[in-house]
Amino acid sequence: MVLMTSVLLTQRKKIGVGEQFQAEIPDWTGPPSDAELSWYRNDPNTSKMLGSRTWPPEGYVVQTNIVVAGQGRPESCNCPYPGNFYCRLHHINTARDRLRSEIGQVFKEWKFDLMGEQVSEMWSIEEQLKFAALEQLVPVFENKSFWAVAAKHFASKTRVDLVQYYLNVFLMRRVSNQCRLSLLEIDSDEDEAEEEEDEDQSDGSNSSQRPQDVQEVKKIF
C-alpha cells in the first residue's frame, strides 16, 4: 500500500490555480438582445473570423434534389489485373480527374494538385533514387541531421519541397511496400525505422526492405 501511494503521489500533478493559470471569464449579463446579435453579425472584426467560404462557391447551383454522399469505391472493375498496382494507380488518377471536373478551381484552392504521388512528378528519377538512398544511409531516428544532409544534396529544392516529397511520396510508398510484403505490423507512416525491426518480416532484415523503395520507383517508370 505504501508503494502504491508513493507511485501515485510522484505521478500526480496539480492543476494550477491563480491569475497566471486561469482564463478571464466575463460575467454573464443575460442572453444577447436583438441589437447585440445584430451588432455581432455586422461587426467586421468578428465576421472576418468566419474566414472565406470555399464550398459551395458563389453562384453554385445544385443540379438536382438528390445528393449522393458517402459512396466508396466500386466492388469490381474492368482492369486486366484488378487490385494490382496499375489498377489502383489508374483508379486514383481517374478519381482525381473526376474531382477536378466536379469542383473546378477549388481543386487547386484545396491543393489537391499537390497531394500524393503527383508531388513526385516534380522530381526526376535520379532525385527520387538519391532521396531513397540518403534516407537509408541516414536513418531518421538516429541522426538528427537528415534534413540538413538532404538540403546539401538537393540544393535546388527548398525545405518545403523536401518535406512535401517526404510526406506525400516517400512515406506512402513505404507503407505500400510493407503491404506488398504482407508485414503483420504496418507502421511505417512513422519516421522511426527502428520499429520495423520488431516486425515479423517474411524476407529477413530491415535493410533489405529499403532497396524495395528504389525497385518500386524503377517499376513505376
Partner: protein, 459 residues
C-alpha cells in the same frame, strides 16, 4: 460497375427538420499538411490533409459548408495566453541559434514542443479555425462546426505543452461565452485535457469532462478527485481509465456520465475534442477503440440536438486518424459512408484492406467491472452535488457540506517538474509495464482514493 454499398441519397439541404440532418460548417486550411514538427516527431499535421482528402473523395462536401479559416492575430491569442508568451511565439523561428535559451526554458519549447518552421502561422490557422467555428455557432449559422486542426488541449496560458502551443479550444470557448451562458467541454483524447480544465478550473460557466488514461501517463493530472475549485468546484469531471478500454465499455461509461451531465448542467453549447490517440493501435495511446466506437461519442452528443463544435487533437497513427476524422465528419452530417474507401491521393496509406473501419486489437482490457462501477458511482456522486441548486444563479452558490476528502489545499504552486508526452526516441508502443505497477497504480476503488487524497505533494 456495381457500387459496393448504397452510400446515402438524401434530399438536398433545403429544410432542416429531418432529425438526421444538421447544418455543418467545416474549416480547412489548405497549407496545414505542410507544417512539419521535425524529424521523428509523432505529431504530423499531414494527417489533417489525409482526412480532408477522404472527406472530399467520399463526396461529403456536397453536404457541408467548407471555409478557409482566417488566421488568429496576436491580439486574438492574447485573449487567453500571456503577452510575453504570445510575443515569443510570434517571433520564434526554426533557427535554433536565434532562440534565447531562457525563453526556451520558460515557455517549455524544445523537445516535445519544438520551434519549427512556420510555428506561428500554424498556430494562427489552428486557432483561427476554432474561433471562426465559435463565431458561426454564435451567429446561429450552423448547428455543428468542425475544425480538425484544432483541439490542441495541453497548451497553457504561459507555456507550450504536449505538442500544443496555442490553446484554440480555450479561445473558442471564450468566444462562445459571449452568447452562451453554459458551455460543456468533452474530451476523448487518450491524454487528460489539462490545458482546458486549468483555464476554466474556477468557473461554473464551463464544465469540463475528460475521459483519459490515468497513471504513469502524460500529463499526470486528471485524477478522479480533481473537481474544480472556488466557483468552479464540481464543474470539472475526470474519468481516469486504464489500458485497453474497448468500445462497449467506453460507450457504457460515456453515455451514463454524459447523460447525467446534460441533465444537471443543461449546457447551451457543447465542444467535443476528438483526439484520435484513443483509437486502437495508436503509436502513443493505449486504448482499444475502433473508429465506430470513437465516433459513437460524437453521435451520442449530437443526439441532444444542441449546437456543437467538433475539434481534432492527438492521434499519431496517421492513417487511422484520417479514417476517424473522415468518419466523424460523415456522422456530423448524418451520413453512413461505405466501408470500402474511395480512391484518393493517399489511398496507398490505407492498405492492405483499404477500408474505412479498423479492428480493435486483441489486448486485455485492464478496466475491471469493479473499477468502472466505482468510477461511475464517484462521478455521479460528484454530479449530484450540482443538483442541490438546479436553477440558481450561477454566481451565487450556497456553501455545500464538505466531506473530509475535500479540504481546501494550497494549489497556487505548479509542480516544478514538467513531464514529457513523448520519450523523444525510438518508440515501442507495445512494452508491457515490467513491474506490474500499472495494475496497482490504477486501483481506483473508493477506499484507496480516500486514503490518497489528503496527501498533497508539491514536487
Amino acid at each position: 460497375m456495381a457500387a459496393s454499398g448504397e452510400g446515402a441519397s438524401l434530399p438536398s439541404p433545403a429544410g432542416g427538420e429531418d432529425s438526421r440532418r444538421r447544418r455543418v460548417s467545416y474549416f480547412y486550411e489548405p497549407t496545414i499538411g505542410d507544417y512539419y514538427y521535425g524529424q521523428g516527431h509523432p505529431m504530423k499535421p499531414h494527417r489533417i490533409r489525409m482526412a480532408h482528402s477522404l472527406v472530399i473523395h467520399y463526396g461529403l462536401h456536397r453536404l457541408l459548408e467548407l471555409s478557409r479559416p482566417f488566421p488568429a492575430s496576436e491580439a486574438d491569442i492574447s485573449r487567453f495566453h500571456s503577452d510575453e508568451y504570445v510575443s515569443f511565439l510570434a517571433s520564434a523561428t526554426g533557427n535554433p541559434t536565434i532562440l534565447d535559451p531562457r525563453a526556451v526554458k520558460r515557455f517549455n519549447v524544445g523537445e516535445d514542443c519544438p520551434v519549427f518552421d512556420g510555428l506561428f502561422p500554424f498556430c494562427q490557422a489552428s486557432a483561427g479555425g476554432s474561433i471562426g467555428a465559435a463565431v458561426k455557432l454564435n451567429r446561429g449559422d450552423a448547428d455543428i462546426t468542425v475544425n480538425w486542426a484544432g483541439g490542441l488541449h495541453h497548451a497553457k496560458k504561459g507555456e507550450a505543452s504536449g505538442f500544443c502551443y496555442v490553446n484554440d479550444i480555450v479561445l473558442a470557448i471564450l468566444e462562445l461565452l459571449k452568447f452562451h451562458r453554459r458551455v460543456l467541454y468533452v474530451d476523448i483524447d487518450v491524454h487528460h485535457g489539462d490545458g482546458v480544465e486549468e483555464a476554466f478550473f474556477t468557473t461554473n460557466r464551463v464544465m469540463t469532462v475528460s475521459f483519459h488514461k490515468y497513471g504513469d501517463f502524460f500529463p499526470g493530472t486528471g485524477h478522479i478527485t480533481d473537481v474544480g475549485a472556488g466557483e468552479g468546484k464540481h464543474y470539472a469531471v475526470n474519468v481516469p481509465l486504464s489500458d485497453g478500454i474497448d468500445d462497449d465499455t467506453f460507450r457504457d461509461l460515456f453515455q451514463c456520465i454524459i447523460k447525467r451531465v446534460m441533465e444537471v448542467y443543461q449546457p447551451e453549447v457543447v465542444v467535443l475534442q476528438c483526439g484520435a490517440d484513443s483509437l486502437a493501435g495508436d503509436r502513443l495511446g493505449c486504448f482499444n477503440l475502433s473508429v465506430k466506437g470513437h465516433a459513437d461519442c460524437l453521435r451520442f452528443l449530437r443526439s441532444f440536438n444542441i449546437p456543437m463544435m467538433v475539434l481534432g487533437g492527438g492521434g499519431y497513427t496517421i492513417r487511422n486518424v484520417a479514417r476517424c476524422w473522415c468518419y466523424e465528419t460523415a456522422v456530423a452530417v448524418g451520413v453512413e459512408p461505405d466501408n470500402k474507401l474511395p480512391y484518393n491521393d493517399y489511398y496507398e496509406y490505407f492498405g492492405p484492406d483499404y477500408n474505412l473501419h479498423i479492428q480493435p486489437r486483441i489486448v486485455e482490457n485492464l478496466n475491471t467491472t469493479k473499477d468502472l462501477e466505482n468510477i461511475k458511482n464517484m462521478i455521479l456522486d460528484h454530479l449530484s452535488k450540482l443538483e442541490h441548486v438546479p436553477n440558481a444563479q450561477f454566481h451565487e452558490r450556497p456553501s455545500d457540506p464538505e466531506g473530509p476528502e475535500e479540504k481546501e489545499e494550497d494549489m497556487d504552486k505548479r509542480p516544478a517538474q514538467r513531464s514529457r508526452l513523448w520519450s523523444g526516441g525510438a518508440y515501442d508502443s507495445d512494452t508491457e509495464d515490467p513491474d506490474n505497477m500499472k495494475t496497482e497504480a490504477n486501483d481506483l476503488s473508493a477506499n484507496s482514493i480516500m486514503k490518497f487524497s489528503p496527501y498533497v505533494v508539491h514536487i
